[in-house]
Symmetry: C2
Subunit: 196 residues, 2 copies
DNA sequence: CGAGGGATGTTGTCACTGACTACATTCGTT
DNA sequence: AACGAATGTAGTCAGTGACAACATCCCTCG
């Protein structure tokens, strides 16, 4: 931060910030611990103190990503009109916005977690999705949604959004298509979940 | 294949087969051109004749993956009862089966294609999805589905399936959940798309 | 205080990798 | 049979991740 003594102060977050930048600009495969160290003005061995290996760095990025996604979703719901439909649309918009703005990060976030040491990432994901869960539960209590396990309803809804975002990121779905397709998908989901 | 002369005969496909194996067993990051060459009993420079760089190998794997996915989807539809609902369910089952059986490959297939030289992959994807398109068009003609651009309907449907599979692969959705959630999602999709 | 122990950063090293080059062998065509 | 294109080999280079030994700093406890 300042005149740079032997110790950096908060290398860990500095590395994470820098890493997310390269991730966004040049993709995962361009993320190298050594270059990251270089860019942060620190020796090539320093990152190891904070991230045991490359995968640990990726996991930390993913965890952080879920935390930010959770905040985004939360903000969106908070700022939306207080009725279920508006909230769902806001949630969807926020998710897809995050997903397309941080495509490489999202890929990382969803990279297989059947791996030792991935528990924190997994838990971060659960926390992020808790927002959606809350919206669904509230809608159910208000009688605006069919009853049923909110967790599984939330997962289906998020899966749809995630699938759309993933297809857009991969180029299979054009970016402009998203803007019409997402609200459409939300409507259809809601229609299928409305009590009758 | 046999006494091994100077030329291999069909190194390219041998490499692809071997690569897919390691991909399945140890993930993308474990795929190395040199080890691949070693495992195929060929010099470390040989793969370069067939895949200009590592990414070209990954692209070829993805392309091949889409071809096989297309075949799987096609077979599923062909073997299903000739009514739309059964076909949709068969399609969904086949997609999710492929997606979970070849998780790492699927990740590769959907890795960002906004990249030079990714056109073949993109086109392979289109061909694979043509099956779903056909099923939807047929259902529309039979009056069992709302009219509308079949391409965009297909994309939403596939996105939902893909999202569910992706969440399962990442561990966010338990594998057993899929079996109940997928048919459920199909029903809901169909319900929202049925003419009324 | 001030010593010492833990946390953090540095330097050096190793095996491995992808990319590239020059060269060898084989195949297909004429 | 000859020759050019396709395919495989051998050698090399810079970059990388992992690791170990060492340096520096911070903080606590006597």
């Amino acid at each position: 931060m300042c005149a740079r003594s032997y110790h950096h102060g908060n290398l860990r977050s500095a590395l994470l910030i820098r890493a997310e930048e390269t991730l966004r600009e040049r993709g995962v495969q361009a993320l190298s611990l050594r270059e990251l160290a270089r860019a942060t003005g620190v020796s090539h061995g320093a990152p190891r103190r904070h991230f045991g290996d490359r995968q640990a760095l990726l996991d930390a990025l993913a965890e952080d990503g879920f935390a930010r996604l959770g905040r985004d979703l939360d903000d969106a719901v908070r700022e939306a009109e207080p009725d279920s439909i508006a909230r769902f649309h806001a949630l969807a918009r926020a998710y897809v916005l995050f997903a397309t703005r941080h495509a490489a990060l999202l890929e990382l976030m969803y990279a297989g977690k059947h791996r030792e040491g991935a528990e924190p990432v997994y838990e971060a994901a659960e926390r992020a999705f808790a927002v959606a869960l809350g919206v669904i539960s509230a809608a159910q209590e208000a009688g605006e949604l069919v009853p049923g396990d909110p967790e599984s309803l939330a997962k289906v809804a998020l899966a749809t959004l995630h699938g759309l975002a993933a297809m857009a990121n991969s180029g299979i779905l054009a970016g402009e298509e998203l803007e019409s397709v997402v609200p459409d998908a939300v409507e259809r989901l809601l229609w299928g979940l409305r009590p009758r």
